[in-house]
């Protein structure tokens, strides 16, 4: 039998220090706070490194550095010069792509195939894209807008380096400086990025990285010297931030949760629709805010589609994230695994039928098998709450009107997919869906030139594209 032998990417491509400090004013500096956080490899629960948990005093130092850099160096710099730094960063990222891909897989648990083929190319592309805008802001359609000042940025653990790129690249291109807090479970690539800033000769204080958990994030967001707050993460935390920022002069953009609908009409190209469903929910273990976690399939093809989907899922390869043939990696943390398990159990107890393929799960680490729930109704928790894991809820519909009304019947509005060979039906559906992104016969495809963001409880503001500049100009 032709079975793939293990094909592990070399872990030796990265050297992880046992302990990391904060990156403030162009230097790695010891935190004043004594608290430390251990980041572990989700695939085997082994500790990777210890990082500082920045306290209020550390955050204040970071903001002071960012303010100085904004006023003295970065905002007076001509756009073309800022662009040069961004291009240099983009090129260094490309040069170090393999190393960064391995580091991201180790820290996050996602397969090397995705960090190598999706995350890192997009990270570099974002820096290249915004580097190109830096000297053309007058032509971006935002008038003679100027940078806001210091941006406080808090990013999640699902795409650690990509979310950093989405935040840092437009902020720097427009002349802002940043204080960024990566997620406590995935700080390592942000710290590697700090090294890249040094390597690129970026002026001190333009990028400051403070590691830590929720308390550090609160301090960053609440700091009075922040001119702009940008957050990607859960809707719950987004609400807290909106409350904290309300009544201040700070500008705010939020990119929050989702419960994306993936609508498959009966005339869809069926094998490609199956592929899109798999990409939609199992990409990055389903840790994707725009995941297509609600499959809405036309009743007449539901049985056939589900049979094909199950056969396809049986072929997914779950395991060692560093194996180049792994399709599904580890869940990022014990806490997230517990949440996925809780919601999957709710699906069973509310009467939906769960199904998972026969793949064995590794003994150590945080793992959840790809799971499909059928017999789901709009009233089930698994159809309403964001699970942020490899769990698909399947609902059926009979008419396009029903599909649209079910798709829109959610507090969220980030993404949707529509699968049909008929152009008029595609446009009819897309124009009625209340979602920031509607993918047509594809799913989870990203490009730096394409704006991304949500409606309703999925947040406000846009990242990416020309629109993404607006959040950093005023």
């Amino acid at each position: 039998m032709f079975e793939y032998a293990p094909a592990p990417e070399a872990r030796s491509l990265v050297s992880i220090r046992p302990s990391y400090d904060l990156f403030i004013d162009g230097e790695f500096v010891e935190a004043e706070s004594d608290e430390r956080i251990v980041t572990v490899n989700p695939a085997d629960e082994e500790p990777l490194a210890e990082v500082a948990a920045a306290g209020d005093a550390d955050v204040a130092r970071a903001f002071a550095a960012a303010r100085r850099a904004f006023e003295r160096v970065w905002s007076p710099l001509p756009g073309a010069e800022r662009g040069k730094y961004l291009f240099r960063i983009a090129r260094i990222i490309q040069e170090r792509a393999r190393e960064l891909a391995v580091l991201e897989s180790l820290d996050n648990g996602k397969p090397i195939k995705e960090t190598r083929d999706v995350d890192l190319p997009l990270v570099a592309a974002h820096f290249f894209y915004y580097a190109g805008w830096a000297d053309k802001l007058a032509h971006a359609g935002h008038g003679s807008a100027r940078p806001l000042g210091v941006a406080a940025q808090v990013i999640p653990w699902n795409f650690p380096l990509l979310m950093l790129a989405w935040k840092v690249a437009p902020a720097l291109a427009t002349g802002n400086t940043v204080v960024l807090k990566p997620a406590e479970t995935t700080p390592l690539t942000a710290l590697a990025f700090a090294e890249i800033c040094q390597e690129a000769g970026l002026p001190p204080g333009v990028v400051n990285i403070v590691t830590g958990a929720g308390a550090t994030g609160q301090a960053v967001v609440a700091h009075p010297d922040a001119d702009k707050v940008a957050f990607t993460g859960s809707t719950e935390v987004g609400r807290q931030i909106a409350r904290a920022v309300a009544g201040t002069r700070k500008r705010l953009t939020l990119e929050l949760g989702g419960k994306g609908a993936n609508i498959v009409y009966d005339d869809a190209a069926i094998d490609q629709a199956v592929e899109g469903i798999v990409t939609g929910i199992f990409f990055n273990q389903g840790h994707v805010c725009c995941a297509g976690s609600r499959l809405l399939v036309q009743e007449s093809i539901a049985d056939e589609l589900l049979a094909r989907l199950r056969a396809r899922i049986e072929r997914l390869r779950l395991g060692d994230p560093l194996d180049k043939n792994t399709d599904i990696g580890a869940v990022n943390s014990a806490a997230q695994l517990a949440r996925i398990r809780e919601l999957a159990a709710a699906g069973e107890s509310e009467g939906a039928t769960g199904w998972s393929p026969s793949c064995p799960l590794p003994e150590r680490g945080y793992w959840f098998p790809p799971t499909v729930f059928t017999g789901v109704t709009q009233a089930h928790r698994i159809a309403r709450e964001e699970i942020f894991g490899p769990v698909l809820s399947v609902l059926t519909f009979r008419t396009p009107e029903e599909a649209v009304s079910k798709a829109n019947n959610t507090p969220y509005g980030l993404s949707a997919g529509v699968w049909t060979e008929k152009g008029s039906l595609m446009l009819w559906t897309a124009s009625r869906l209340r979602a920031g992104v509607v993918w047509s016969n594809t799913f989870n495809v990203f490009d730096p030139a394409s704006p991304f963001g949500g409606n309703k409880e999925s947040g406000y503001g846009r990242e990416g594209g020309r629109h993404g500049l607006e959040a950093y100009l005023g």
Partner: protein, 306 residues
Amino acid sequence: MPDTIPGSLRAYLHGLPGVDEVGVGRRAADLSTRSVKTTAKRHAIDLAIGMVDLTTLEGADTPGKVRALAAKAMRPDPADPTAPPVAAVCVYPDLVAVAAQALAGSRVGLASVATGFPSGRTSLEVKLADTAAAVAAGATEIDMVIDRGAFLAGDYRKVFDEITAVKERCGPAHLKVILETGELVTYDNVRRASWLALHAGADFIKTSTGKVAPAATLPVTLVMLEAVRDYRAATGRQAGVKPAGGIRTTKDAIRYLVLVKEIAGDDWLDPAWFRLGASTLLNDLLMQRTKLATGHYGGPDYYTID
């Protein structure tokens, strides 16, 4: 297969699910990133060698060249008897007798491109005679080309009837139906032609004659593998797939095997259900095989050119 209502064949074929070109390309590209190393690679190389239809289809072919090819087919690496024989030798009809004699007593199949290869633009009588002659001379497999002109004009009935008639004339010989996918242009057409050929009795569906560009590609093979997979699910009858033309390297061949494994399934990973039509691939497989076994790369001069 509906055949009593006029136009129903067309309605049936056009009622098959569509194929999204972008999605097929993306899936094929994704599967191309599978990393096949060490033991998996060793196994894949031997599997691929056993699936090769060693082919010579030149106007200048001679009995001498065909004998040489037959010898190579039976024992691909004179220096290493553990290298498995290939699946079949593929020649023009007039050289079948020569090849049959050369292959006598071996398990290597003998395929012949009958039916007015490569354009298929002859009368049905000629195609049937061509087929019968090749089978009589010892061909165990017939590679027939479909009439692309008729297919593209929507005359599906003509194509269907021709395949049926040739299949009947094949007797015990296996029928491989060449769709010439480069001339069918769209994946929707490829899927329709695949189903048409399968319903008409094809034992194999084959991408190309090798005389038209593009010949075999990963996406087009993917669509055909989906067709045989779905056809077996629908009818219970299994048929094979043969990409042909332009497959030159071990890396290419392994990508095809990955496609077979992950699209159609492990059941198709057998020379009975998957073939690689090739004239130059075999030497690269042999070179990589030796490199894996000895750690040394001998180079092209250590292998016979034909």
